[in-house]
């Protein structure tokens, strides 16, 4: 799943670097706070460990071999933020010193595997392990499945990044400038290998090593053991920590917004008055409505009411911005910003009322 150089356009690479940056920043800020603890050598050694297990070719059931990435285990032992750093460091060293994965694609690879991978592992592991005791078999299963899911989500992200390249970047002759495979090819090509081989390798390594740690050093599993054991350690800041996760999720969604452009057709029931006189759109409406033909003219009420208000960012594409992707992105920022502003004003108001 290591994306090589030349498969993603520089703008996609830049976008994924930008997407990774806030997560790295937060992860580093957390590690900096804990710099006096044993976290620094632990992260370093763990990333060396991840680097190594990427070289172990596991013989898998069915006669193939595959290697694990170590996201599952790193997240269970270090927690999502430190795991993000450990896997990122391993990926940087692989790209820089060993030529595995592109230099320009470091941001993309870190985003897919280190960042999204560890967040997915963390959420799944916590959800599946629940409050079970540290030594329970349920934790072994949870770690294995979380690792399996994380690898597959990362692979799906990489496949989407590959697949949108031919849609966005072609020269005048129609030659794709970067990855030439559309989504219909890239998603099955990536997912077949990962749902079976790579996912299985990660599952075996995560589950096997969590089982081993349960016997040799269960205290290492405490970091992600769940509410029962971590409430005390987390202390009063717990509420804001939860919020941080939400902020991070919001950021990811905003970065992913340009994907919306790829959707074909019109959204059912979101037609504008002029759509009813456009034959192509009329056909789309009929197709989406069980072949019921659309009315000849736009409904009167729709026509009248549509004059009342013209949105500043009509169709999520501000007229003064040429790039549709950037316009979409800007619309997402603006929309989310407005909602955050409205919510914080409402919060202020409610607090005022209570006092």
């Amino acid at each position: 799943m290591h994306i090589p150089d030349g498969y993603l356009s520089p703008s996609s690479c830049a976008a994924l670097y930008a997407g990774s940056a806030p997560f790295w920043y937060m992860a580093l800020a957390r590690v900096k706070k804990a710099l006096h603890t044993r976290l620094v050598p632990l992260i370093s050694l763990f990333s060396a460990f991840c680097f190594l297990i990427m070289m172990f070719n596991l013989p898998l059931p069915g006669g193939t071999t595959g290697h694990a990435v170590g996201i599952g285990l790193a997240t269970v032992v270090l927690g999502p933020w430190a795991a993000m750093l450990a896997v990122s460091v391993a990926l940087v060293i692989q790209a820089l010193f060993f030529g595995d994965g592109g230099i320009t694609a470091i941001g993309a690879n870190c985003f897919n595997m280190a960042i999204v991978g560890s967040l997915v592992t963390y959420v799944c592991y916590r959800a599946m392990a629940g409050r079970s005791p540290l030594a329970s078999f349920r934790r072994v299963v949870a770690a294995g499945l979380a690792g399996y899911l994380a690898i597959n989500v990362s692979a799906l992200l990489a496949a989407i990044e590959f697949g949108i390249q031919p849609l966005l970047f072609r020269d005048a002759m129609g030659t794709p400038l970067y990855c030439p495979y559309p989504l219909s090819v890239s998603i099955p090509a990536m997912m077949i290998g990962h749902l079976t081989i790579a996912g299985m390798a990660e599952l075996i390594v995560s589950a096997g090593l969590v089982a081993l740690l349960q016997q040799s050093d269960p205290s290492l599993l405490k970091a992600t053991a769940g509410a029962a054991t971590t409430l005390k350690e987390l202390g009063p800041g717990r509420g804001t920590r939860r919020l941080h996760t939400l902020w991070a999720g919001l950021c990811t969604l905003m970065i992913l917004t340009p994907l919306g452009i790829l959707a074909v057709g019109t959204a059912w029931g979101e037609w504008v008055a002029s759509d009813f006189s456009n034959p192509a759109i009329r056909q789309q409406i009929a197709g989406a409505s069980f072949q019921q033909p659309a009315p000849e003219h736009a409904p009167k009420g729709l026509e009248q009411l549509s004059q009342v208000w013209t949105a500043p960012f009509s169709h999520y594409a501000p007229p003064y911005i040429r790039s549709a992707t950037f316009g979409y992105f800007l619309s997402a920022m603006f929309g989310a910003g407005l909602i955050i502003l409205a919510c914080s004003l409402m919060g202020q108001f409610m607090r005022g009322l209570r006092q």
Binding site: G6, P10, V31, S47, L52, T175, P180, L212
Partner: protein, 259 residues
């Protein structure tokens, strides 16, 4: 299942892993050796090298013209020749591996990309298009160019200097420290893993079934994990013994000199 009928599986996993570990160690050793040789790039300030090579990689990524990418690759080859890195080394250590990986990914594009058909494979429903050929060539050339440039940096600069140069790009100190520590311990752990598998190989008589191989793989990974944790504990104690209190200092002593 016995090794008799499955000669290829015989010790396959262990040998395969040893080979991989050996290749990585070999590469690291070669880098250390060539970084201390005398040549054009070895004499340059690491910051200049990082900036210049990154700029070249960017040029080859941004351009849509094949000849520009080829020109950058040619430039990289000339720089390698001037820095006492032989083209044979580049061919065997960089180009071949990149070609197998990137080539395998790029080859189907020749046939899958719609466009002007220039060749039809006889007997098959496959047609190579001009656009497909161009896009595959772009992919392979770009990957080769970036890999060559990255390894030029690694082969001509001690890794401690590469890390220090990263500070120029405002990479946070903590990240550089973790990166440096990881680099150091990767070499140590490569050796540990290598020894582990060598000794396992010398104790293995006859053939292993796939299940046994898998068991060995998991157990070795587990053993390596416990060594990792022990080592991290030792390193932490050593850091404390040397007075580490959470502040990080790195020596920033690069100076530009006139030539």
């Amino acid at each position: 299942m016995t090794g008799h009928h499955h000669g290829r599986i015989r010790g396959g996993f262990i040998e395969h892993t040893i080979e991989g570990l050996h290749a990585a160690m070999d590469k690291a050793l070669y880098a250390e050796h060539s970084a201390s040789a005398s040549g054009l790039l070895q004499r340059l300030d690491p910051r200049v090298k990082v900036a210049a090579l990154a700029a070249f990689i960017l040029v080859s990524a941004v351009t849509a013209k094949l000849w520009v990418v080829a020109a950058v690759l040619l430039l990289a080859m000339i720089l390698a020749a001037l820095s006492s890195i032989s083209l044979w080394v580049l061919a065997t250590r960089v180009w071949l591996t990149t070609l197998t990986l990137s080539g395998a990914l790029a080859l189907p594009a020749v046939f899958l990309t719609p466009g002007t058909v220039i060749y039809r494979v006889p007997g098959l429903d496959l047609a190579a298009s001009a656009q497909g050929l161009r896009t595959a060539a772009l992919l392979v050339l770009r990957a080769e160019t970036a890999a060559t440039l990255a390894l030029l940096l690694v082969f001509t600069t001690p890794w401690t200097h590469v890390l220090k140069a990263l500070r120029m790009f405002r990479v946070p100190v903590v990240f550089v420290v973790i990166l440096g520590m990881t680099c150091r311990y990767i070499l140590l752990m490569l050796e540990t893993a290598h020894e582990m598998f060598e000794s396992r190989k010398s104790r293995t008589v006859g053939a292993l079934t796939r299940g046994e191989q898998r068991r060995i793989a998991i157990l070795s990974t587990g053993a390596l994990l416990s060594r990792t944790l022990q080592l991290s504990n030792d390193v932490y104690l050593a850091m404390q013994a040397r007075g580490f209190r959470g502040e990080v200092f790195i020596l920033d002593d690069f100076r530009m000199k006139g030539r």
